[in-house]
């Protein structure tokens, strides 16, 4: 049980801190949340700075153009960038954390050479076309069809909850190529250009009033066969590789951020008088315990993943507790600020955004299924 840095890790942390201290003051002001082109430009410019400094794809393998850092170093990267207030991964999320690692793991040499460098440099932005109106938690029920026509697939259907679709260049797309096969066996993974004829993007307004994601309409979109990753009908396995990345360190930055949020909330409580309320003070103390332990769980999961090579089902335990704790944090914030919780403001925006946490990236109910079946080995029902 070693929680402190090795000499190599301490050195990595020190150099990163120095670079962040030098670089962050040079950044332009962050764009408005509704300014999508501005957000893309800002996020990709940050990615370019990371690339130039050797921090792009910290956890990617060296032969994929990454830094090949250990999972511990990746965690240090996420921790330090968050603590320093560096830009969030933003529009680069799908490219860096889903599509890129999947191409690195499953792509041909040509595909790796075509897709990976532009992600690392911040030249190309990816979005994710997995969910459909009738395929949410039951992702394998997806119905978007792809029919082979010469050297291309002709894709028709629709996708939903697609973040950054308005500004993306590429979409990692799951399509059904064999409607007769059992549902997990007829799926194929395609890289689709977002400017291809037949792609229509319709932004969706969230309950927070923002347009964080979109619906995709696909009408006979031609995707070259060369942009298929893995074999035809092997897309489900390819996708599981992606999802296991999503449940690894994907929420580590947010775990760091939430620890800071609890302290910020405690300061707000002291300033506004809520601190004198014993029950509220103890609720804040309980959140402090929860988020400290969740950070330790991230460190535990990363240490385990480092030893075994892939993130395990322990990520589901983290996701389950973390998303619920995060909602509890913003409900507590509402009690701290009183009637201000009924007004538009930073705590309110977070509270609204937080309602998605128990739904996105696998609902809490799905996480409980995973924990029950894969970790506890409970039987599948009839």
């Amino acid at each position: 049980m070693q929680l402190s840095d090795t000499p190599a890790e301490a050195d990595f942390r020190r150099r990163l801190r120095e670079w962040l201290g030098k670089t962050l003051p040079e950044l332009p002001p962050a764009p408005e949340p509704a300014d999508w082109p501005g957000r893309r430009a800002y996020d990709t410019a940050w990615q370019r700075r990371l690339f130039d400094a050797g921090y792009a794809g910290v956890h990617w393998p060296v032969d994929a153009g990454g830094r090949g850092a250990t999972p511990s170093e990746h965690l240090i990267f996420l921790e330090e960038t968050e603590l320093a207030g560096a830009p969030y991964v933003g529009a680069n999320f799908v490219g860096l954390l889903h599509a890129g690692p999947t191409v690195a793991a499953e792509g041909t040499p040509e595909q790796r050479a075509r897709f990976l460098p532009p992600i690392l440099r911040g030249d190309e932005v990816w979005c994710q076309g997995f969910s459909e109106p009738d395929a949410g938690s039951d992702l394998a029920a997806l119905r978007t069809r792809a029919v082979r026509d010469g050297d291309a697939y002709v894709v028709t259907g629709g996708k939903i909850w697609t973040s950054h679709a308005e500004v993306a260049d590429w979409c990692e797309l799951l399509v059904r190529t064999d409607p007769q096969a059992p549902k997990h066996r007829g799926i194929t993974w395609l890289a689709m250009r977002m400017d291809a004829p037949g792609v229509t993007v319709r932004p969706l307004r969230t309950l927070a009033g923002t347009t964080e994601f979109a619906e995709l309409f696909l009408d006979e979109v031609r995707v070259p066969v060369g942009d298929r990753l893995g074999a035809e009908n092997d897309g489900w396995r390819v996708t599981m590789v992606t999802l296991s990345f999503e449940r690894g360190t994907a929420f580590a930055s947010e775990a760091v951020a939430c620890r800071r949020e609890v302290r910020r909330l405690a300061r707000a409580a002291r300033a506004g008088g809520a601190w004198d309320d014993l029950e509220l003070r103890r609720e804040l103390a309980s959140l402090e315990a929860e988020f400290t332990a969740l950070w330790r769980l991230v460190q535990w999961n990363v240490s385990e993943a480092a030893a075994r090579g892939v993130p395990g089902a322990g990520g589901s335990v983290f996701k389950l507790r973390f998303s619920e704790a995060r909602q509890r944090l913003y409900d507590t914030a509402a009690r701290v600020v009183g009637t201000e919780a009924l007004l538009d403001g930073p705590w309110t925006a977070q509270r609204l955004q937080g309602l998605s946490y128990t739904i996105a990236a696998g609902t809490s109910q799905i996480q409980r299924n995973i924990v029950a079946r894969r970790i506890l080995g409970l039987p599948k029902g009839r």
Binding site: M1, Q2, L3, S4, D5, T6, E9, S72, L75, V262, R263, A266, R281, R282, L284, A285, S286, E288, A289, E290, T292, A293, L294, R296, L297, Q299, W300, V302, S303, E304, A306, A307, G314, V317, L320, R321, Q365, Q367, R368, N369, V371, A372, R373, I375, L376, G377, L378, P379, K380, G381, R382
Partner: protein, 294 residues
């Protein structure tokens, strides 16, 4: 960083778990394998290990729901250099001062409301037996004025309080894991509506939440043992108490009517979790300690 157990730590845990699965070790056997000399320096006849090893041992003791003054005896040896059986007892905010198994003790390490620590000879305590909820943890009620005892230094008092809290959290973490294991084992074999009840999502989700609480408590206890941070120790106890008490209750629920019987012994998990919840530092004390760090 490598948070995983070292090979030695893994062997220590696995060896003890196996020994405790095979049969219940009695007090002399626990003493013989060095449970109470874990952190005593080697030149003084101890094992010279640290808090991380101690929490691994106490986690296994909790999983086996061992009885006896485990925490106090280890802490008395490690912090105060005292031999013999000891129990750490805090003067409670409400209710009588209760000491488990008083006649078998040599020392009572009494934490007073001002956080000072008095070392009392157990024989000097005026006490009467009190009927205890937990059948394996008989209680004595201290009566009259408490003897002044020998006052420990403030740093010793802090360490006794912190170590006792953390080791009790480790017991609770082990008990919580035991509750998950018992619930899952029952849910896999008990059949209703023509299938194991563990195939129903209502039961699965109950078990999944039990595991999530137990896992979070376990890493919180390990991390607090490594960092030694007082806030982290308070947080670990808080989470471990919740994992143990709610876990034992959910375990009882999964067992249905059988869980309500004396013979099924599920109640022993819950009764012990209630007892350990009040030992070391209780929920309010942990929360107030955490709040001072905010």
């Amino acid at each position: 960083m490598d948070f995983r157990l070292t090979e030695d730590q893994g062997r220590l845990r696995d060896g003890l778990r196996q020994a405790l699965t095979d049969r219940r070790l009695d007090w002399e056997e626990l003493t013989g394998i060095g449970v109470f000399q874990l952190r005593v320096p080697e030149q003084d006849g101890g094992l010279g290990l640290g808090l991380p090893e101690a929490v691994l041992v106490f986690e296994e003791a909790g999983r086996a729901v061992l009885s006896g003054p485990l925490v106090g005896t280890e802490v008395a040896a490690a912090v105060l250099g005292l031999g013999g059986r000891a129990e750490v007892v805090r003067v409670p905010a409400r209710g009588p001062v209760l000491v488990p198994e008083l006649p078998g003790l040599d020392h009572v390490l009494l934490l007073r409301p001002d956080d000072s620590l008095a070392v009392l000879p157990a024989a000097a305590c005026d006490a009467s037996p009190a009927p205890a909820v937990d059948p394996d943890r008989p209680l004595w009620r201290l009566e009259g004025d408490l003897p002044p005892g020998e006052r420990a230094s403030a740093p010793q008092a802090r360490r006794v309080a912190a170590d006792a809290t953390l080791l009790t959290a480790a017991l609770q973490s082990g008990l919580a894991a035991r509750a998950v294991a018992e619930a899952v084992a029952y849910a896999r074999t008990r059949e209703q509506f023509g299938q194991p009840i563990g195939a129903f999502q209502a039961v699965q989700h109950l078990c999944a939440d039990m595991l999530a609480r137990a896992e979070l408590a376990r890493v919180a206890v390990y991390a607090a043992a490594v960092s030694g941070d007082p806030g982290e120790i308070a947080g670990a106890k808080l989470l471990a108490d919740e994992a143990a008490v709610r876990g034992a209750r959910d375990c009882l629920q999964v067992h249905g009517g059988m869980g309500f019987t004396w013979e099924a012994r599920v109640h022993r998990l819950l009764k012990r979790a209630w007892a350990w919840e009040q030992a070391g530092a209780d929920r309010d004390r942990c929360l107030d300690a955490l709040a001072t760090h905010l």
